[in-house]
Amino acid sequence: MFISLQWLREFVPYTGTVQDLADRLTMQGLEVEAILDPFASIAKIVVGHVVDRAQHPEADKLSVCTVDVGGPEALQIVCGAPNVAKGQNVPVALMGTTMPGGMEIKKAKLRGVVSCGMICSERELGLSEEHAGIMVLPAEFKPGQLLVDALKLEREVIEVSITPNRADCLSVLGIAREAALGFGLPLSMPKLNLVEDEGAGDATKVVRIDIADGELCPVYRARVLTGASIGKSPDWMRYRLLAIGQRPISNIVDVTNYILMELGQPLHAFDRTLLKGDVIRVAPAKDGQSITTLDGAERKLLGSDLLIWDAERPVALAGVMGGANSSISDASTEVLLECAIFRPGTIRKTARRLALPSEASYRFERGVDQVGSLFALNRAAQLMAEVSGARVLKGIACAEPKPWADRSHIFRIDRCNALLGLNLTPEFCRTTLTGLGCGVDFPNEGADPACWQVSSPSHRLDLEREVDLFEECGRVHGLDRIPAVLPKISKALDSVQLSDTEFGFLQGLKAWAVGAGLREAVNYSFVGTDDLDRLNLPVEGRIMIANPLSEDQNVLRLEIAPGLLNNVRHNLSQGNASLRLFEVAKAFVADPASDTSARENSRLGLLVHGARHSQEWPWEQGEADYLDAKGLVENLLTHYRLGSADYVLEPGHAYLEPCVRVELPGKNGPTLIGRIGRVQPKIADAYHARKDIWLADLDADLLRSLTRATKPVFKSLPKFPPVRRDVTVICPATLKASEVEAAIRELKPKLLESLALVAVYAPEGSPERNLTFRLTYRHAERTLVDKEVDKEHGKVLGGLPQKLPVRI
C-alpha cells in the first residue's frame, strides 16, 4: 500500500528523511518496497502567467498567448482552449518536457504561428478528467514556480508491503503508529470538529439498525447527512488521493476513500432517498438471490454472503460493494453513511467467490478496529459536511450486538527471553507493550512478579496470545540484535534411522549417472495433456491440475519421458545435436487409497540421442543405439549389485518400439525394474528428432529397496588356473544370443565357471550370424587337465546343434 509522507506527518512529527523512515519500517517488519515520487511525470511543469492573448490570424479556435514563465523573455504559445484569457496563471509545459502520456513538447508551428510550449489542462497533467479547457491556477502563484511546489503536491510516497497479520497497518494511522514506536515520537490524532445540527433532525429517529447475527456483524453505525451538494472535492483532498493512486470521484465518495486510506475503516455512503423504509438490516442473502452492484453487474448470491437491506430489498453486498439501487449520484443530497465491522471470513469468502477484491473487502477480511470505527465515522461525517456543505443530523443510529471485549493474556518475561534468546529488562518490555497500546497489569503483591496480565489494543487483532507479545518485544528491540548461538542438537535413540535415506539413495543414483557420462535435467512435474496424448499414455490415472497456469502445464507427469523429450526438442532447436541426459524425478498416478490421492514413484530416466561419443578423434563415430542404452542399465545394475537382468521384448508399447522390459529374475518370478526402448519414429518426429531417441525408464524406488536387500559378500579368490575354450555358433540371425546362452547352460557342462559372448559376426545380407562364446572352466581344488575339459566342452559342442537349429 502507498503512504504519503506529508499525510503521515499529520499524525507523527517525523522530521527525518524518507529513506531513514523506509529503513526503520523495514526493520520493524513493514517492508518498504519502493520510494516513489507520484508526480514525477509533471515535475517539470511550471507556472506561467498569460501576459497577453490574441486571436490566431488563421484559426478561430486558437489563441496566441504571451506567457511569462519567470524567464528573461516571455514565450509565445498557441493554445486551443476556449477558456484561456489574459491575466490567468496557467500550467506550462516548456519545450523539452515529456508529458505524462509520453509526448515530448517541441517548438512547433500551428497554422503558421510559432508555439514554444504548451498550456495544459488538468487531464493532460493527470490531475483529473477535466479537459474542457486549460487548468487555471490561483492568482498568488508565481510565474516560473514549479507546479508541483505551487500546488504543494506530495513528492514522497512509500510503497509498503503489509503482511496479512498487520491489518492495523493498512492506513496512514497504522504506519504512523509504527513510525512513532520506531522513533520514539508522540502520535497525535486529527482533531475532531464535528458539528451536529440539531435542527436537521435526529439520526436515531430517522433510521433503525437491525443486525440478524452479531457474529457476522458485531457493530453497525450510521450517520445521516442532509443537504449535501455533490461535486468535486477540494484540491488538497483530490491531490492527496491521487498521490497514493486513488482516483477522485466526487466529494462524498472521496471522503469515504480518504478515511479508508487514513484510518483503515471502510465506509459506505448511500443515497438515503433511495432507501425504502426507515430500517437498515444486516442479514445473510438467500441462496440463489442476486444483487446488482454499483458497477452494474448482477451478482448471484449464496446463503453465506452477507447483505445490507433496507426495509424491502438488499442495498449493498456487505463489506464488498454497494448496490446500484442506492448509490450516490450527482443529484444526491441526502446521505446515509455506514460504518460497520463484518466477520472477516465471510467477507473474504464472498469477495473471492465473486472475484471482487476491493480496498474495503481487503481490510474487512484482515480485521478492522472495532473501537476505532466510531472515530472514523465521526471524522468522515465532519469531512463530508466540510466538503459538501451538508448538515449532519444529531446522533448515531447504531446496533452493537457484540461490543469489543478486551483480550487479556499472561506475559512471562522469562519465557519471552528464553524464546528470543535475549535478556530484555522488565522496563523495556513494559515500555514496549504500553507503547503498542497494550494495558499492562502488574501482579498483586505475593503473586509471581514475572507473570503479567497484558491486554492488547483493539487495533491489534493479531495480538491474540502470549507468544504474539514476545514477538512484539523482539521486533521492537530488533530481531536482528539477537545473538548467534550454535545449539547442541540432541537426538532420541529410538529415532535413529538407517543411513540410506531416500534422499541419500537418489543422490547416489545421480552420482552414478554423472559417472556414466550423463547430464542431469530437471523438468517441471507437470506437462500438458497434449504431451501425454502424444505418447499414447492412458487417460486413466492422470492427475489434473484444477487451476493450471496454462494448458501445457495442466497434468502431472505419469512417466518421466515427457519432460526429457521436451528437452530433446529444445536442445535440437538450439543446435545441440547429441544428447546424453538423465533425470531423477517423481511420476504421479492417481490413487484413491492415498491420503493425498496420488501415488508418487521416483523414476530414473536415461536418454541418449545422436552421436555415441564425442565427435573428436580418436573415438570412432557412430549413432547411439540400443546397446548404449542397455549398457547404461547393465552398468547400473552391476553398480547396485543386482546381478544380470533378463531383457524381454514387449510388443505394443505406447510410445517405444522396440520396447524391452528389464526384469530381474527371482524366486517369485521376475521383477520389472523398467523399460528400455526407442521412441517410435513418428513420435520422435514430433520432437523434431531425425535420429533415434533411446530411452530407459527405471523405477528408482524399486532399485532402492532391492539394493537395500543385497550386501557385498566376500568369496575366496580361486587358487587354481582356469581353462578357457571358445565356441563359435553359426545360427539363424533371428535366434537371440540369450537363447544360445541358455541352451549352453541347460547342457550343464560341469566345472563351467562363466560364459561370455566375445564376438558377433553378422555378414551383411546373410540369414545367419556367428556368435562366439568363451567358456571358462575351473576346478576349485586342483588344476584341470585338458582331457576332462575336452569331455565337458564336447558336451556343449555336441549338444547345441541338437537343441537349436545351429552349426558349430
Partner: protein
C-alpha cells in the same frame, strides 16, 4: 703354428671392431654376429685349427680363443645397446603427448542438485537428518496444520495449484514439518529438501522450484539458536565472513518470524562493486535467501506437541536462489530449459 693361430684370433677382434660400426640396424648386427660367432662363423672356423694342435700349445690357444670370444661378444653387445638406444629415441620422437585422450563422456549434476547437495551436506554436518515426503499434499498438511485455516488471508501469500478442493501441489516443504512431528516425538532435527509449486510464472518466478526446510524442536530452543545455526550454515555455504540479517516478517507457522537476509555475496555487503551499484543486491548490501522463525504454538498443538514444554525453530531456503548466488546465474528460467550448453557449465 701357435703364433699364426694367435695372430689370426687377434685379427678377428680387430676386424670386428672395425666393422661393427657399419651395422646400422639390429638386423645388420645379427648378420655380423652370425659371421663372427655363429656355428659356422669365423671364430668357429679358427677353432678347427685348435683341435689339431698339440697338447703343449692347447692351453694357451684355448685361453686365447676364450678371450677373443668374450671380446667379440662384448663388442657386438655394446653396438646392440647403441642401436637400441637409437631406435628407442626414434620411437619417442613420434610420440605426441598433445593428441586428445580417449575421453569418456563427461556427466554433470544440475545446478539445483549441486546447490541442494551442498546445503544438505552442511546441515547434516550440523546434526540435521534428511526426510522426504509427497509433492501432492492434502490441505491439512500444507495449510491447516501450519496455522492457515481455510478463508485465512495468509493463504493469499502463496498462489496455490490445486488438484482438487482438498488436494494441492505442496506450496512449500513445510508440510514435512507436520509429517515429521506427527510421526516422531521430540527432539526433532530434520531437513526436508524438495520440489514445491506455486501458481506464479514471470521473470523471477517459476511454477516449480526447490526449497529446503529445516526444523529443530527440543526443550529450550531459542531464536539465538536459530541465528547461530543459520550463521554457521551461511558461513560454510558462502564464505566465512557472510553475515546474517533477521528482518521481522510474518509466516503463519512461525512466531516470531523473520526474513532471512545474508550480506551480498557479490559486493560483500558494500552495495557497490568498483564504484558501480551492485546488480545482485541493488545497492542494499543484503540479499534475501529465505524465511525463518520460531515454530508457532498452534502448529505444536496441531501435531500433538505441548508448546509449554517444547520450543523450536524452522527455516526455509530457496534453492534456486542459492544456486543463482553461488554460480552467478542471472535468469531463473534457464534452470528448467535443460539446454546442454547450460548444463555442461556445472561439470
Amino acid at each position: 703354428m701357435l703364433k699364426s693361430f694367435l695372430e689370426g684370433l687377434d685379427g678377428l677382434t680387430l676386424e670386428c671392431e672395425a666393422r661393427r660400426g657399419q651395422a646400422c640396424s639390429l638386423k645388420d648386427l645379427e648378420a655380423l654376429r652370425v659371421e663372427f660367432l655363429g656355428r659356422k662363423g669365423k671364430l668357429a672356423g679358427a677353432m678347427v685349427a685348435l683341435a689339431q694342435m698339440g697338447p703343449e700349445d692347447k692351453p694357451a690357444a684355448g685361453k686365447k680363443a676364450n678371450e677373443v670370444k668374450t671380446a667379440l661378444t662384448a663388442l657386438l653387445e655394446s653396438r646392440q645397446a647403441e642401436l637400441e638406444a637409437e631406435s628407442a629415441q626414434g620411437a619417442l620422437a613420434g610420440f605426441d603427448p598433445s593428441l586428445p585422450g580417449r575421453r569418456p563422456a563427461p556427466g554433470s549434476l544440475h545446478p539445483v542438485t549441486l546447490a541442494m547437495q551442498e546445503i544438505c551436506e552442511v546441515l547434516t554436518g550440523l546434526g540435521f537428518e534428511v526426510v522426504a515426503g509427497p509433492e501432492v499434499e492434502n490441505d491439512w498438511n500444507n495449510f491447516e496444520a501450519l496455522n492457515m485455516p481455510p478463508d485465512h488471508p495468509a493463504r493469499d501469500m502463496q498462489d496455490t495449484l490445486y488438484v482438487s478442493e482438498n488436494i494441492v501441489l505442496r506450496t512449500h516443504t513445510s508440510p514435512l514439518q507436520v509429517r515429521t512431528m506427527m510421526s516422531r516425538k521430540p527432539p526433532v532435527a530434520v531437513i526436508a529438501p524438495g520440489k514445491v509449486y506455486r501458481r506464479d510464472s514471470d521473470i523471477t518466478h517459476t511454477p516449480m522450484f526447490h526449497q529446503i526446510e529445516a526444523l529443530l524442536v527440543d526443550t529450550n530452543v531459542s531464536m539465538a539458536d536459530l541465528r547461530g545455526t543459520l550463521t554457521a550454515f551461511v558461513r560454510q555455504l558462502f564464505s566465512p565472513d557472510t553475515k546474517v540479517r533477521f528482518r521481522p516478517s510474518f509466516f503463519p507457522f512461525t512466531e516470531p518470524s523473520a526474513e532471512l537476509d545474508i550480506s551480498c555475496v557479490l559486493c560483500g555487503g558494500e552495495g557497490h562493486v568498483a564504484g558501480a551499484p551492485c546488480r545482485v543486491c541493488k545497492r542494499t548490501g543484503w540479499v534475501e535467501i529465505g524465511g525463518c522463525g520460531m515454530v508457532d504454538p498452534n502448529v505444536f498443538r496441531q501435531v500433538g506437541y505441548d508448546p509449554e514444554t517444547v520450543t523450536g525453530f524452522a527455516f526455509g531456503l530457496g534453492v534456486e536462489r542459492v544456486a543463482m548466488l553461488k554460480y552467478g546465474i542471472g535468469d531463473l528460467r534457464m534452470f528448467f530449459e535443460n539446454d546442454v550448453r547450460f548444463l555442461e557449465q556445472f561439470s
